[in-house]
Symmetry: C3
Subunit: 282 residues, 3 copies
């Protein structure tokens, strides 16, 4: 059993960054190859093509990026990745769950730097390994990224991160830590979060992040969602030392059956930003 | 209903540019993602991979280009694109219909510059929008490309273009105009054309283009095709101020059932050029 | 009958280059388009995406390469390629058959330079043609690569190569020669090899390569494989003037049914290298 599958998403709309409005476009293709052996072990690999135009904090550069390769092996609950790997901190359950709107953003997100699967090219010395294990609602993840694996001279420290989570139908708890985030010495951060399904249509969660540097301090954010037929309302309120302010955001998704209209308004004490548009998965 | 489809074409053969003969190769992959909602609205996106070797006016650079992304939404006759969009002038009905041969070329084509869907990278400030509407044989298109949408400092004017066409089984008429073509101030051009199906096997058409600059002047071209079993003969004759000469070309396609042999000889008063080869669509 | 198919392979593991150990990763996607005409002629094209991290002689550069395009036509035993073509010498039967292990390597390989299908970008003047013909076990190949086809000034000589082979169920014999390998004047090499199937599970072969320069001299290598259920043992022993030494290697593949575990230890008189990992085709 073997094959190649292309999946991903597209989104486009308008982004207001507090001063001006811009078009926003993104198209992501994940090209995934998998081979399953007779014994049920799955080997696979991924390369991503992605193009982004506009956004709160990044302008288009007019180029479509093509990622380095991720290779992995999976067997039952265990997954090991090498190459352009996912990282435990970036993949921690709940860590991005306060995000809303077209561009999947939140002022309650971590503001520090850490590695993740890289959409574009990266430093020539870089290699990574990642492992996760899931069983009965419990998931453990660990990752290690070294910019000096293939040669020295980059003056970058290896990043290590771990993440643990436990999930039932009713609730999820998650914790993660990263050391030398993005290869920056002493950029150590940790995260803890919990989410609770109040009912079939309502969820609430709380995230706490101790950011990687003194300047960024702590971020705490309370978020929730409420579903009414095709509409899902979302919102968060938090306190961010990075912005030295209360942060707040509200958003709404309208389910089109295969795609969604989505928008948000968010404020970090200095800027009020907003986005609206459509997103479709494929 | 959702998925990713790769389509495109390949072509290869020989091109004689008036002085020398070269190999010509091109391979184009359009990677298209689409999602149709329950209500029948289609969202989609495209990234193109293309490699070209040789040609009348461009040598290979040995690189395969990867396009920025086009995103769109379609509902019944309406289509709206954002990002790396098609343009109305470039998409005008009939405007390229005098083209013949392996490399789809004609000295009766417009000689001025204007934007189109970009196969390779483009300027980091660029964004575009395009809309078309079709109903009962009538099609209207409009596009707007701004090289300074994401940031200023490019010293380029926004290009605007529109196109209208009406088509029946018997005939097609088309008109289009572009202002500040390719972002060049005062590079304004317009086009009008008509085509008539004389019979099931014979067509004839006339294109008139007022080019974007005084130096290029006007181009007028009369073209036609005649089908005999698997062979289609094509030809054009015109007057081009850009070449300050009568221009003329004859070509033939031989249908291989899924591919075609194709060739042409063309003259612009200064050079006689020719091409021959094979083209297949997939 | 037309379509696009993506195939390739992934491999990952560890490589010891004699001094240090590195992660090794490679993911290859061949994107192949084909169209078959009603008369049974197949036209096709290929672009390759590939990312490699580590290896005996190349570090990752953190970029995924995208190849120039190969175009071809096939009819019965005849195949003609243009563009980024395969070469006869690189495609000669048996020439790489002493290779073992994760990275498909052997000190019994030719040590001189010659062209092959290029995974990454190449010189802007380059074009190639290749033809092969197969009938009743006999295969003839010829190729011609010219770095100055599209423009002069590269100071590179055109490479010509030819290859002949004959194969039965019992044995294969192969010979090939290259002139101006990799465009280097007087870099002329030739190869002759033979392989014999001793039984259903055992093969043995002998390769002789007269390298392209006096400094590299000759390489002669005796190799074989022996299959025991899911395990295939492989090995070679040879004499290489390039290394001024006896060269030797042993390897083993363990068939996982759709993937394989594979490893090797090799010595060239100066260095002992090793690799181990997994490879899967898709």
């Amino acid at each position: 059993e073997t094959g190649v599958k292309i999946s991903g998403y597209g989104r486009f709309g308008l982004v207001y960054d507090g001063d001006n409005s811009f078009l926003h476009t993104r198209l992501r293709f994940n090209i995934d190859a998998t081979t399953e052996t007779d014994a049920g072990v799955t080997f696979g690999g991924r390369i991503r093509l992605q193009n982004t135009g506009g956004g709160y904090d990044s302008y288009t550069d007019g180029n479509t990026s093509i990622s380095p390769a991720l290779l992995y092996v999976e067997y039952e609950g265990l997954r090991v990745e090498v190459g352009n790997v996912n990282t435990a901190f970036d993949s921690a359950a709940l860590i991005y769950d306060s995000e809303i709107g077209l561009t999947d953003s939140s002022f309650g997100d971590s503001q520090t730097s850490f590695y993740s699967f890289s959409t574009g090219s990266y430093h020539s010395g870089r290699a990574g390994v990642y492992a996760s294990y899931s069983m009965s609602g419990f998931t453990a993840q660990a990752s290690y990224i070294d910019d000096e694996h293939y040669h020295t001279g980059v003056a970058s420290d290896a990043e290590t991160s771990i993440a643990l989570s436990y999930s039932t139908d009713q609730f999820t708890v998650s914790a993660a830590a990263v050391q030398n985030g993005a290869g920056i010495a002493d950029n150590d951060a940790w995260f803890i979060g919990g989410a609770y399904n109040i009912s079939d249509v309502a969820t609430v969660g709380l995230n706490y992040i101790d950011e990687g540097t003194d300047a960024l301090g702590q971020t705490i954010v309370l978020y929730g969602s409420y579903k009414m037929d095709a509409v899902t309302l979302k919102g968060y309120v938090g306190q961010s030392d990075a912005y030295d302010s209360t942060v707040i955001g509200i958003g709404a998704d309208y389910d089109l059956g295969g795609a969604k209209l989505t928008g948000s308004i968010q404020d970090n004490g200095n800027d009020t930003v907003a986005d609206v548009g459509v997103r479709f998965n494929f």
